[in-house]
Amino acid sequence: MKKRGLSDVQFGYLLILPALIFIVIIFLYPVIRNFWLSFYKLDYTAGGHLGFIGMDNFKNILRDGSFWSSLRFTIIFTVISVPIEFILGLVFALVANTRFKGRNLVRASILVPWALPTAVMAMGWQWIFNGMYGVFNDFLMRFHIISFPVSWLAMPNTAIFSVLFADIWKTTSFMFLLLLAGLQSIPDELYEAANIDGASGIKKFGYITLPLLRSSIVLAFLFRTIQAFGVFDLIWVLTGGGPGDSTKTVSIHIYNTVFRYLNLGYGASLVVVLFIIMLPFALGYARIAWREE
């Protein structure tokens, strides 16, 4: 029989080629190029010429107080937001996994924060946290939690609170989805067997749910940590990193470095540092999530 055209394997590679091309051009090449650039000076306030400077960019990072404070805030932001969104997301997922009337409506509502564009909703949060006319102040005052309006976005501590509040609101949705997947993969029979044995809700949760959810939980934490570390949209629109750089994250510092200070080489080195920080989490995720592949 005449062998027509390509073998299965060759055909397969051909099919994958377009996707690979995209990935190489938009992901692999930029990552590599960024590493390369970080060893060069490329500063538009100094003429914009490419010049090799070795480790100088990285040495400058050590003296860049603005970077370190942004790193500190980013870490605080991540460490606070991820656990809280996890707990909320877990509760939401547990509820949504229970059978009750109106469950679909509840699941649909939980999806709403996920569906809304972060940047657009950040404008909405600016309005909610508005010092003079915002509903957040009004709400708190009606319940006598505060006695006069707070300028949420004008002072560092309250701005940090606002940013965390707005972020957790959105990311709870993500966690919900990640954990719901895990919950749904737990076979009902296990719960039924436990019910027959007369196990209480807490026991079921501790002995069945949590252990079987473990890899989902780990994956959720790893994934969300990477995303939280790179947060940009929400904070850039909500506070711009202010006041007093109190809500400035590493990614905002990078953005300013590149597009305001026009220092692309240094910006690339900052990206390298960010990448290195994220790498262990990414590798951990890859190892667990893509084990079978």
Binding site: P30, G102, V112, P113, A115, M121, F232, Y285, W290
Partner: protein
């Protein structure tokens, strides 16, 4: 015994109410705000239900020098192109991964998936260089190509696992009929996975609609802006320093209500699709 059940039931419903309120309240507030006339916006204390309903903010969005309709058109064009491109290329790859035994399959898949792990800020400097070198600033392609790339991992993952579930007997039957490999793709896989592809398409479209960083960076021309950037940049009309909350919330509502409706209607499928993609990660 009954009291205990009653209390736990009550607490449960309280929790449900909290969840729904938590999820919807901030957005509902934007909707309410968008219908309040400007003077009511600055009333103290806050009015929770508009005293007077007005559509003026919505009308204002389409007036004169505003580019608001433009933003929507741009987002739609970028979103549709990205979705079509992504689903098409993604399903080609998914077919190959699902059915054709490729050596190095694991490695290739991992390479593709790695693109979904890192936030876009990692890529911004070189991507900007490329956009600048090829003169693509303010060009739809500057967004379509990266968006497609960033959505391919998820798309390929979901479609691959879906394709794998399609029974091989169907393919065998088709092969006997003389249908070629590519023909298999079009006559069997596509139709059978239409629901999964549709769901994935919705997710890609939403992801493209909501993207901010790249849209902010590559589209500096106001007529080329997409919705999220356009709304974030809405400047003051009445005074140089005032922010027009009425217009902003109206813009928000107008551009997100379709998203929310789609999500509400396809909620079941979307959760399935996302949890599918999330099952192994």
């Amino acid at each position: 015994m009954h009291i205990k059940r009653f209390i736990s039931l009550f607490l449960f419903w309280l929790l449900v109410a909290f969840i729904v309120g938590y999820s919807l309240a901030p957005f509902l507030w934007q909707i309410i705000t968008s219908f309040k006339p400007s003077n009511e916006l600055s009333s103290i204390p806050v009015t929770y239900w508009p005293k007077h309903f007005t559509f003026s903010h919505y009308k204002e969005l389409f007036q004169g020098t505003r580019n608001f309709p433009r933003y929507i058109i741009n987002s739609v064009i970028v979103g549709l192109s990205t979705t079509i491109l992504c689903i098409f290329i993604g399903s080609l790859s998914a077919y190959a991964f699902a059915r054709l035994q490729l050596p190095q399959r694991g490695l290739l898949l991992r390479i593709i998936l790695s693109a979904s792990l890192f936030p876009a800020i990692i890529l911004i400097v070189p991507l900007y260089e490329m956009v600048s070198r090829f003169g693509l600033a303010n060009n739809y392609l500057a967004l379509i190509i990266p968006y497609t790339t960033l959505n391919l991992p998820f798309t390929i993952w979901v479609l691959t696992s879906f394709f794998r579930q399609i029974p091989t007997e169907l393919e065998d039957a088709a092969k006997v009929d003389g249908v070629g490999r590519l023909g298999l793709l079009f006559t069997i896989f596509f139709p059978l996975s239409a629901p999964a592809m549709a769901t994935t398409a919705i997710l890609v479209f939403i992801s493209s609609w909501n993207e901010f960083l790249l849209a902010l960076t590559f589209m500096s021309n106001d007529t080329a802006r997409t919705v999220p950037v356009g709304i974030a940049m809405l400047g003051g009309r009445s005074s140089v320093y005032e922010i027009p909350w009425g217009s902003i919330t109206a813009a928000m509502v107008l551009t997100t209500i379709p998203l929310v409706l789609v999500v509400l209607i396809f909620q079941q499928r979307i959760v399935e699709g996302l949890t599918q993609g999330a099952v192994k990660g």
